[in-house]
């Protein structure tokens, strides 16, 4: 569900950007939307040229794209089916209704102007699902669910940062130049943090502030730091197999301390790209470990 939301938000961003003119005609952000969604290779295998209609279809409905909104919902529903009994009726209903509705939507397909409605619908459904989770028992199942959620989110945020990291390299000037403004707004909007950022920081928008917001700021529910802390929290809340939890935690400890103590200036100087790459690698190894320890 988390990934469905990210994909929907990315689509929304691409849609928005395609409506603004630039000196040579129109903006074409679809390529960067595809790479941010990690779907560029898959797309290119299927289509020769990058066209809005195809991108929309590929990211929303395509069955061959593992990250399409359709597939995310399908998988979420199938997983929920397996653990149906640990869900409350509300949360099952939220996920299953979403699934039934997307089947209908897929049959009807869509015309271009429907995209905003589709993305809005997706985000609404995800919010409904998240809201329903507050009725769950706070047992290990709950902790595993949120471990998955935050691992997914950490990975999504980090990948988006990686695709757009060049936008955040320090530049002296304010946001006045339209290109930067647009690039920044793509990044923030796709992480649903556009308005939130304005609230979190006074004054002018600078690259360093945005990087700080998305990497280190614990008030931002999309930041890498926030995700890590929640992963640690739900991991250490697990009551089963303390020795397995301990092993996984040891692997995470360094990253957790580092992200707590690091200054954004140091990270940018050392290389945001390297930092994010390492982060992604670490998260994925934690993910694998959890699978190996608990679900094999």
């Amino acid at each position: 569900m988390e990934r469905a939301e990210t994909t929907a938000r990315l689509l929304d961003v691409g849609y928005r950007m395609s409506l603004f003119p630039n000196p040579s005609g129109y903006n074409n952000e679809w390529e960067s939307v595809l790479s941010a969604a990690g779907a560029i290779e898959g797309y290119k295998n299927k289509y020769d040229t990058i066209e809005q209609k195809n991108v929309e279809d590929y990211l929303f409905f395509d069955e061959s794209n593992p990250s399409s909104v359709y597939n995310c919902i399908l998988n979420a529903r199938n997983n929920a089916l397996v653990v149906r009994t640990s869900f409350t009726p509300e949360s099952w209903l939220a996920i299953n209704k979403t699934y039934q509705e997307i089947l209908n939507l897929k049959e009807q397909k869509f015309t271009k102007s429907d995209l905003p409605n589709l993305t809005e619908w997706t985000i609404e459904q995800v919010n409904l699902f998240r809201g329903s989770l507050s009725s769950l028992l706070r047992n290990d199942g709950y902790n595993f669910l949120f471990l998955g959620l935050f691992i997914e989110r950490a990975d999504n945020s980090a990948r988006l940062l990686d695709v757009k990291y060049f936008v955040l390299l320090p530049k002296p000037q304010y946001v006045g130049g339209n290109i930067d403004n647009m690039q920044w707004s793509i990044l923030l909007r796709s992480l649903s943090s556009f308005r939130a950022f304005r609230w979190a920081y006074d004054g002018n928008i600078t690259a360093t502030k945005i990087a700080d917001f998305l990497v280190l700021n614990n008030n931002c529910p999309r930041s890498l730091s926030f995700c890590i802390q929640n992963i640690v929290k739900h991991l250490t809340n697990l009551t089963c197999s303390p020795e397995k939890v301990g092993r996984i935690y040891n692997n995470l400890k360094d990253l957790n301390t580092k992200i707590k103590e690091e200054k954004i200036e140091t990270i940018v100087e050392y290389g945001l790209h390297q930092f994010v790459t390492q982060f992604i690698r670490k998260i994925s190894s934690v993910d694998n470990e959890i699978h190996k320890e608990f679900f094999n």
Binding site: S18, S113, R195, N204, I205
Partner: protein, 464 residues
């Protein structure tokens, strides 16, 4: 949209094709969609009648379009005017050169209620009194734009400009693919930069703290206040949230007092400071004027800025442009008779059947007489008013405002429109790439005010 009877102006061709394709069913659906969207986000205005449902302004689906070159001229003209108005304010609250030069008689200025004596001898940061100016423009012929009114206090309507665009982009993306429309969504960022560039002299914070001061949820523009502060990421406060201590202004927060550097106020002068303006007022921040005058805070727009948009001062704006900037006005005024002058009053009384008479202090389309459309009794009533209180009125010819195609019951019909673009002046002067187009929805009507059944349209400026 039309050059003459049946020739469509070039830049409207795309729109015309688009209209041809739409069935009346689609139009109805889209109208309903827009209405639902406006209700959901809450862009409504409250009416005095408390039991009535909140109203939304009628939104017309057909955009109004300006070409790049058309806009360039408007942009230069509006910025020129906005600069002159600020120079005028700086002058009359200091040396008064324009009075010494016998261009504007001093009685007109110093006797006005909107003139603020306590501002005398004080200069706000960068000498900017009115950083956000809305200029109301009308078009009467292919390239004939006239200024109908200046709004130097707290012009509203910019939230409609932004939301109208959002809904159009959402409902009709194809239109934006076929027409290169200049984006306007960076307006809040530019507004914030403008406010920050007007920090008071005693502000040491490299990133000045700005707040938006609202009269509260009962105000008809409350949606706009919350919308703008949210978009800028600044606090929206009421006067009870602010207090003065020592030589500074603070806002109350859960974390204790926080110093405020710039107040973007959306309340009238009278309600700013009970110690200074209206002692009867229960709202206001006691002592804020003192902090303001000693450079502890900036108030945008400055108290007393309203004198610049007084309808009696309006007549002199072209002279101001020549006097302060040494330039020829790019945009002309509408011909106006000043009833304070005996000769002009006589002309107005003799020709009242063809004229529009307006109260100097009136707004919102109230308190005006449209000669050609009025009954004999209301004309007589106005004649009496004019004779007893000539100072309170000006008169203008009834302008043949341009028509813009508008959907009325699924048919495209011409309706009269005006335009309010928004000019920002801080470190730099800039104009929004668009504005608020208001449209008189009733057939034959000349009044575009929302309180009188006016609607709004999205306004496009095509990219070069």
């Amino acid at each position: 949209m039309y050059q003459s009877e049946s020739v469509i102006r070039n830049h409207y061709n795309n729109i015309n094709d688009w209209l041809d394709q739409m069935t009346s069913k689609v139009i109805l659906e889209k109208n309903a969609e827009a209405e639902t969207h406006f209700r959901n986000i809450g862009i409504t205005f409250s009416t005095n009648n408390e039991t009535a449902r909140e109203r939304i302004i009628p939104f017309d689906l057909i955009p109004r379009i300006f070409t790049y070159t058309e806009w360039l001229r408007l942009e230069r003209g509006v910025i020129q005017r906005a600069k002159a108005l600020n120079a005028f304010l700086a002058d009359i609250y200091n040396q008064g050169e324009i009075i010494k030069a016998n261009i504007i008689p001093k009685e007109i200025i110093y006797k006005k209620k909107s003139f603020e004596p306590s501002m005398f001898g004080f200069s706000p940061p960068r000498d900017i009194y009115s950083p956000i100016i809305g200029i109301d423009l009308v078009r009467t012929g292919p390239n004939d734009y006239f200024v109908l009114e200046d709004n130097c206090r707290t012009p509203s309507g910019v939230s409609y400009m932004l939301e109208n665009r959002e809904i159009m982009m959402r409902m009709f993306p194809d239109l934006f693919h076929n027409n290169r429309v200049t984006p306007i969504d960076d307006y809040p960022t530019r507004l914030l930069q403008t406010l920050m560039s007007l920090a008071p002299i005693k502000c040491e914070n490299p990133e000045p703290v700005c707040v938006l001061l609202t009269p509260g949820p009962l105000n008809s523009a409350y949606y706009e206040h919350s919308f703008l502060s949210d978009q800028m990421g600044i606090e929206m406060v009421e006067s009870t949230d602010l207090f003065v201590e020592g030589k500074y202004l603070y806002m109350k927060t859960v974390d204790g007092p926080k110093r405020v550097d710039v107040v973007y106020r959306r309340i009238d002068d009278d309600f700013l400071d009970p110690l200074c303006f209206n002692p009867q007022s229960v709202i206001g921040i006691p002592g804020i004027m003192d902090v303001y005058r000693t450079g502890g805070v900036n108030i945008c727009s400055a108290p007393g800025a309203g004198i610049a948009d007084d309808k009696a001062i309006y007549i002199y704006v072209p002279e101001m442009i020549k006097f302060y900037l040494g330039e020829q006005p790019i945009l002309d005024n509408v011909e106006t008779w000043n009833c304070e002058k005996e000769q002009e009053l006589k002309y107005v009384l003799d020709n009242i059947n063809e004229l529009v008479v307006k109260e100097v202090d009136g707004s919102g389309g109230y308190g005006m007489l449209i000669g050609p459309k009025s009954s004999k009794s209301s004309i007589d009533e106005f004649k009496t008013k004019l004779s007893t209180n000539p100072n309170g009125y000006i008169a203008q010819p009834l302008l043949d405002l341009s028509f813009s195609p508008t959907l009325i019951k699924n048919q495209v019909e011409g309706r009269r429109v005006d335009l309010r673009p928004f000019c920002l002046i801080g470190e730099q002067a800039q104009l929004s790439s668009g504005g608020l187009t208001r449209v008189a929805m009733n057939e034959g009507s000349f009044v575009v005010n929302s309180s009188q059944g006016g609607g709004v349209k999205d306004t496009w400026v095509l990219a070069e």
